[in-house]
Assembly symmetry: C2
Homo-oligomer: 433 residues x 2
Amino acid sequence: MQERTYIKEVPAHFGEKVKVQGLVRTIRDQKKMLFLVIEDITGAVQVAVHKPSAPEVAAELEHITVGSAVTIIGSAVHNTSVKLGEMEVQPDSVKVECLAQAPLPVDENSGPEARLDWHYLWLRHGKTQLIYKAQTVLEQAMREFWIDNGFIELHSPKIVPEASEGGAELFKIDYFEGNAYLAQSPQFYKQMAMSAGFDKVFEIGPAFRADPSSTRRHASEFTSLDMEISWIDSHEDVMYWEEKLLAHAIGKLKDAYGKEIKEQYGVDIVVPTVPFPRVTLKEAREMLAEIGHVIGHKADLDPEGERLLCKLIKDKHGHDFVFVTDYPAAVRAFYHMRYDDNKTTKSFDLLWKGQEVTTGAQREHRYEILKAQAVEKGVPLEGLHGYLDFFKYGAPPHGGCGIGLARTLVNLFELEKIADVTFAFRNRYRITP
Amino acid sequence: MQERTYIKEVPAHFGEKVKVQGLVRTIRDQKKMLFLVIEDITGAVQVAVHKPSAPEVAAELEHITVGSAVTIIGSAVHNTSVKLGEMEVQPDSVKVECLAQAPLPVDENSGPEARLDWHYLWLRHGKTQLIYKAQTVLEQAMREFWIDNGFIELHSPKIVPEASEGGAELFKIDYFEGNAYLAQSPQFYKQMAMSAGFDKVFEIGPAFRADPSSTRRHASEFTSLDMEISWIDSHEDVMYWEEKLLAHAIGKLKDAYGKEIKEQYGVDIVVPTVPFPRVTLKEAREMLAEIGHVIGHKADLDPEGERLLCKLIKDKHGHDFVFVTDYPAAVRAFYHMRYDDNKTTKSFDLLWKGQEVTTGAQREHRYEILKAQAVEKGVPLEGLHGYLDFFKYGAPPHGGCGIGLARTLVNLFELEKIADVTFAFRNRYRITP
């Protein structure tokens, strides 16, 4: 039986018989000639049928439609007059494996909602598929980095009994005789792993937020890239691991697809140098005040402040990333470890090209202090006992952070919306397809 | 600042100062001597304090408890009288980073429910942590195999609008103004990726089943190892990829931890040869009937039949795995592709050491036939339109399978219960910790 040839390999078989398999992208039907463009995951190729001399092939293709799945066996020909890679397949035989209904319900002129309604059709072309190829490389490079450095892979539960993190924005599940919730983040369970002595862990998995806002940066389900590290001295150690992780993964991405991303999206993948620039939130406020953007002395940066700070850092250091550190306890979660002043946390955000992509911190691992901080912040203890118990019987000092996969991809490809880089986007108004 | 030395590296530093950090496993307090065993992710080491000559260290450790997190700086000594690796650390300074409450609520004598209630404490030792180290290697080896073979990594949605697969055993979510469900399996969305032209995909992620049965083999949340492949000729291609995947991953696991698994669990990791033995369900029934175990001519194998068949295969071929193929349409899902007889499906189960670990099939990718099969099986079309639409506008022939991670680990370690290999086990009666 003839082996399949992926389309990008066709030029290596000029003068030979090949079998190509893919979906029909375009059809040009002329009097004597029928031209198809067939696309597979590696590329597209023109198929040229001279109808008078190939009546069986022409008959099989008589009702062919765009989107149909076809198997073509024929001669691979080097044809310099073909724009598409100067290659052509002249079929001896064709099989229509699946005839598509016509016309397709989405095309280049469709609006954003139609593109999401028929997202799988929208994903059919090399340009959109490139995002998922890049995602594959990026995630695997992260895992390689983590595993090479002794991290253990975690699968934390997504069905949880109560509030993780803030407590708001949880989805409730009908769970047999009672209720359960969907995990907003793996954080509490990463911390459980620290108590279990796992030393360093990572997880790539889904997280869920019942966030009613419907913006280009929000989804109710998203993929979170998470790590947690024991025996750190401060949040500085977490930033050290995060910047090394990102530099490694972006480097691998550039090696694999930098050229294609430049061709298809016009974007240069820039491998960041380490260490990333760091400023305290206080310093950031001062830098912003100097250019006339004033932020209250207890407040976090606003989106415009994030954007402006990144611009200042880019101008000064030529760097796309900046860690903003030392947030006041007032604007951070109760579990962030504090300095001795009890007012400032050992925490950070990572900003990238104007937007926050990570929140991280050293966590408070001492049971009594953690409990006191929860009380002080008004977090009800009833829902918190399971979490607090993680630290009752000993836990190493630890910290960690999480990165949104979609936000990372949006920044790498310089796209607008996380829906553009999500295989099946979910928000308040969309749970299909 | 002194760099941390992981405990397994202590012998490389005999005669030097080291900093070891870990949790206290045992305490032996004598008149003049205090002995601790400290454990980190790499091993355990004895710490010996001669109280009269180290009063500050003795004072810091005066109230030390099992489970407490400690940082020890001291001399690494080769001491042949110490059973535990013939090594000892004699501390110059000690810091108790987190004092554990005493006593721990779980120990070697605790029952299975207490072990699950305090699972993170139960996981604190090298023997249990080995499972998660093995899991890390196993999954990464699978991903390497997939990526080396051109598979794209998928993150399919866990929030879904309606019944995937069977339709039963779904968890319902309160989703803003309406309802949604938790995905039972990524299957339908893997198929969506085939329609999107992704060619070959894999996913490692959570799946959710509202299965009310509470057995050692059932969980309401589990990690599923999934792949889907386009342009297959039959289910045989899926089996080809699955057996190569498993042989590769188990080989990597044996390389990394075969020796430790043998030492700790007494189990030999056997790398399976490929191809795995294959029998049709009809042949399996005949083999079983010969030894007196009769199964109805339309029925699937029962658990005892699975166990006996694996024994027959083991005796005949010396192999731990067997693919059972060609199930009647009557016992398979509507979307399994059928042979021309319209009665037998291009499907398989994979049995391993007596238990089913995979169901796989070529899927029916032709819209009209798929719809007719759903109608014939009495599956209501109302909930199915979104799924059927995946195939309306063309889809390549494809098939795939899924493997339960916990079932795989249970078989590799020859343990009884999937709860024993799950970081945070979930069933009808348990959503904590």
